[in-house]
């Protein structure tokens, strides 16, 4: 989705907001926002790409008006509404009006370390041979789906070189619809001048991880 989140290459955001001795969380609410979003994965109602997708649904005005942890908590509320766990009336009231039949016990304090340490691997067995090999020249597609995708605008319709093969991975675009649809994944390197023309440095490069459906033979 060509949303506000896809900022790569945009101008106008100014200098980098570097904060010396930055705390992990600025205040309790940031930590709580993060913790609740992380715990919500234990409900198994949505995956990581569905989470990202809900942030991408924010309008540009909403996206830019919210800080990172505000986006997290707002996205959690949106997903909870969509999944039928919470109603808009409850969000408005700031209280639960009905306690749902629990689909699971909430994750306990004791279970937190194992929950964090648990492997989350997106590699899947190969079913079809990869179409490309390391060293191949490729061109990216110019598709502009209304839905979740991990091919940023700045790297569409560009020529690059495959430098690594990452195996067959859960395909983000499909996973946002709850379907893993695994695809081969490659690291593809683009030169600065290919991406930015005369403003790019030909010596420098940007490497992106791209799923096979994003690629065509150059």
């Amino acid at each position: 989705m060509d949303g506000m989140h896809d900022v790569g290459g945009m101008a106008g955001f100014g200098s980098i907001p570097i904060e010396d001795n930055e705390p992990v969380f600025h205040g309790d609410w940031e930590g709580k926002s993060f913790a609740m979003v992380l715990l919500s994965f234990s409900w198994r109602k949505w995956n990581l790409d569905q989470t990202r997708s809900s942030h991408e649904q924010l309008t540009p005005q909403q996206y830019l008006s919210l800080s990172y942890y505000e986006r997290l908590i707002t996205g959690l509320a949106d997903r909870a509404i969509k999944a039928g766990l919470v109603t808009t009336d409850e969000i408005r009231a700031g209280h639960a009006s009905a306690v749902p039949e629990q689909f699971a016990m909430p994750l306990t304090r004791k279970a937190v370390p194992a929950f964090i340490k648990a492997p989350r691997n997106y590699l899947r067995p190969n079913t079809i041979a990869p179409a490309y090999r390391v060293g191949d020249r490729i061109c990216t597609v110019t598709d502009s789906p209304d839905s979740h995708t991990r091919l940023p605008r700045y790297a569409r319709g560009r020529s690059g070189t495959i430098i690594l093969y990452h195996g067959c991975n859960v395909f983000a675009d499909s996973n946002a619809d709850g379907n893993e649809n695994p695809q081969h994944l490659y690291a593809v390197r683009f030169s600065g001048s290919e991406l930015w023309g005369q403003q790019g440095n030909p010596r420098d490069s940007v490497t992106l991880d791209l799923y096979e459906p994003y690629l065509r033979h150059a």
């Binding site: 790569g8 290459g9 200098s15 992990v24 913790a35 908590i73 707002t74 991990r150 403003q199 010596r203």
Partner: protein, 207 residues
């Protein structure tokens, strides 16, 4: 047809219903989820404790110091980051599919996630605000040298800058160069030279 077609308008269904003050916004959701029995308040505190006190860049710094002092470990780390992490008992969010990229005299690596804020949590903890900022995400792919200069890192023109945009579940960790004059230092002393920014690529370690 309804003139206000909300599907076409898009946006967040809850944004305008929630309090605008961030702390109150979070409190509203927390209250609802606690009342519904969907979360346990002690588990929320435990997650915060894990990321404030246990999981952070010290994990990554120890890893880099080990790579600097143990050539076979460094080879293993560069060959298969996830397996090398697993051999040290490091697992969890962002540790399963790790690519370690090495800085040399001629190559400097720097990591970003332009689309969101993907970051190797298991080895670096949670990212700082600047990593999540639109300024960093928009600019580092386009003008990496200017961005690095803002961090105080001026790279010679003949050094190649490689930016890694984390667009999948692979996570990138920069292996910085070991500073000269550290030959007699212990692994622990070496680890103290490796800051978070050194492993993202916006700084290099110094004595």
């Amino acid at each position: 047809m309804d003139r206000h077609d909300h599907t076409r308008e898009g946006g967040s269904p809850s944004h305008s219903l929630l309090p605008s003050e961030p702390a109150l916004r979070v409190k509203a959701i927390e209250t609802i989820l606690l009342e519904k029995g969907l979360i346990d308040a002690a588990a929320v505190d435990a997650i915060i404790d894990q990321f404030e006190n246990r999981i952070g860049p010290k994990v990554g710094a120890a890893l880099i110091a080990k790579a600097w002092t143990d050539a076979s470990f460094k080879t293993a780390l560069l060959k298969n980051g996830a397996a090398a992490l697993a051999s040290l008992g490091i697992s969890g969010i962002g540790a399963e599919q790790v690519i370690a990229v090495e800085n040399t005299d001629s190559v400097h690596n720097v990591v970003v996630c332009t689309l969101c804020s993907c970051y190797p949590w298991a080895v670096l903890g949670l990212p700082p605000t600047w990593y999540k900022s639109e300024a960093y995400r928009s600019r580092v792919v386009r003008e990496p040298r200017k961005v690095l200069a803002e961090f105080g890192l001026d790279l010679p023109q003949d050094v190649e800058v490689r930016v890694w945009d984390s667009t999948s579940e692979m996570r990138f960790l920069v292996v910085p160069q070991r500073p000269k004059g550290t030959e007699d230092m212990s692994e622990e002393q070496l680890a103290s030279l490796v800051s978070r920014d050194c492993m993202v690529g916006t700084a290099v370690p110094h004595l």
